[in-house]
């Protein structure tokens, strides 16, 4: 059973090669209007007074996310190219999340990661509009690795809403159920 964390929990965690060198630490999380959603991390140096690094860490190059470090194979896992979404063009300031039934759920605040080797994106942390039924303003929604993307928003299955949770503790069990059910659905479609 892997541990669930928010991507923003990784800020400050050292980025370490298999060769045992810390080449930086996570400075910020970059999310985008893209199938992968989590594009990667910007980095900063680990020494006193060292500033942000020019190179970034694409999510696809992360080997493992552990309690104490983000592991990469080699320094070459870092990229000089900025992390941008496939849509390109203007940067998206607010990532809206809608369901495939056309309901607007809120905007993406963070993503949930299952730690391990390799790590996996398993959920969205969505800032919801406050309503009578929900005063927390938060919805943790399970998602599969690849998310559907429209021109303006990330699209999640309406059915995922019934597995929504308000904290990570409840999310773990719900996610397993959700994935089992969705794998069954995917299989039935084929």
């Amino acid at each position: 059973m892997s541990v669930l964390v928010l991507a923003s929990d990784l800020i400050g965690r050292p980025v370490v090669t298999l060769g045992g060198d810390d080449i930086g630490e996570v400075k910020d999380v970059v999310l985008g209007l893209d199938q992968a959603v989590l594009l990667g991390f910007t980095l900063r140096g680990r020494r006193t007074l060292s500033g942000p690094l020019d190179r970034v860490l694409p999510w696809s190059n992360v080997r493992a996310v552990g309690r104490d470090a983000v592991m990469i194979d080699h320094e070459a896992a870092l990229s000089d190219e900025p992390l941008t979404d496939s849509g390109a063009g203007e940067p998206v300031l607010r990532l809206d999340v809608v369901s495939d039934a056309g309901n607007h759920l809120g905007h993406l605040r963070d993503v949930v990661i299952a730690t391990g080797r390799p790590p996996e994106l398993v959920g969205f942390d969505i800032a919801t509009e406050l309503s009578e039924g929900d005063s927390t303003g938060r919805m943790l929604l399970p998602v599969n690795e690849m998310v559907a993307v429209s021109e303006r928003a990330l699209v999640v299955p309406e059915a995922a809403r019934s597995f929504a949770q308000r904290d990570l503790t409840g999310f773990g069990a719900g996610f397993t159920q959700y994935r089992d059910q969705f794998q069954a659905v995917d299989h039935a479609r084929k």
Binding site: V16, T17, G20, A64, G66, R67, D68, M71, R117
Partner: protein, 146 residues
């Protein structure tokens, strides 16, 4: 043989029975899982292939020529950056901290690492993945949940 049994020991020539240096730290090639020599100060080393014998009291070399400057990138890093394995932070390749390295057991004739001894478990030499400025990286043990 344990690395801790050698650290600080004199390096002595068989030709003149003269002490020419002392062992500071081992130099390890993680890719080969081997001890390839010994750092003696911040500039010089003695490669394992120049070592005639390793006894209880001393490391024996034929002549003072056994001492040389590091040549490969790996040797240069180990000597100039004073890399070490013992008492270092240990990370699994899954990014989790493990207990520190207590010792390294190796075959003195070939340098092959037989065991990496952590404070709470023993790893085989081929479970050693890398040794860098930040940590010693080892394969994630399968006996703990991920």
């Amino acid at each position: 043989m344990r690395v801790s049994d050698i650290i600080g020991h004199p390096i002595v020539t068989t030709a003149a029975a003269e002490e020419i240096a002392r062992v500071a730290t081992p130099i390890v090639d993680p890719a080969q899982h081997r001890v390839i020599g010994f750092r003696i100060n911040d500039e010089e080393m003695v490669p394992l292939d120049a070592v005639e014998a390793i006894g209880d009291e001393a490391v024996m070399v034929r002549t003072p020529d056994a001492v040389r400057l590091p040549t490969t990138t790996l040797e240069q890093r180990w000597v100039h950056e004073r890399l070490d394995v013992v008492d270092r932070l240990v990370l699994s390749d899954e990014g989790n901290e493990l207990a520190a390295v207590e010792d390294i057991e190796f075959d003195p004739s070939t340098g092959v690492i037989e065991a990496v001894v952590l404070e709470d478990r023993r790893l085989t030499g081929d479970e050693l993945v890398g040794v860098g400025a930040f940590a010693v990286v080892v394969q994630a043990p399968t006996d703990t949940p991920r």
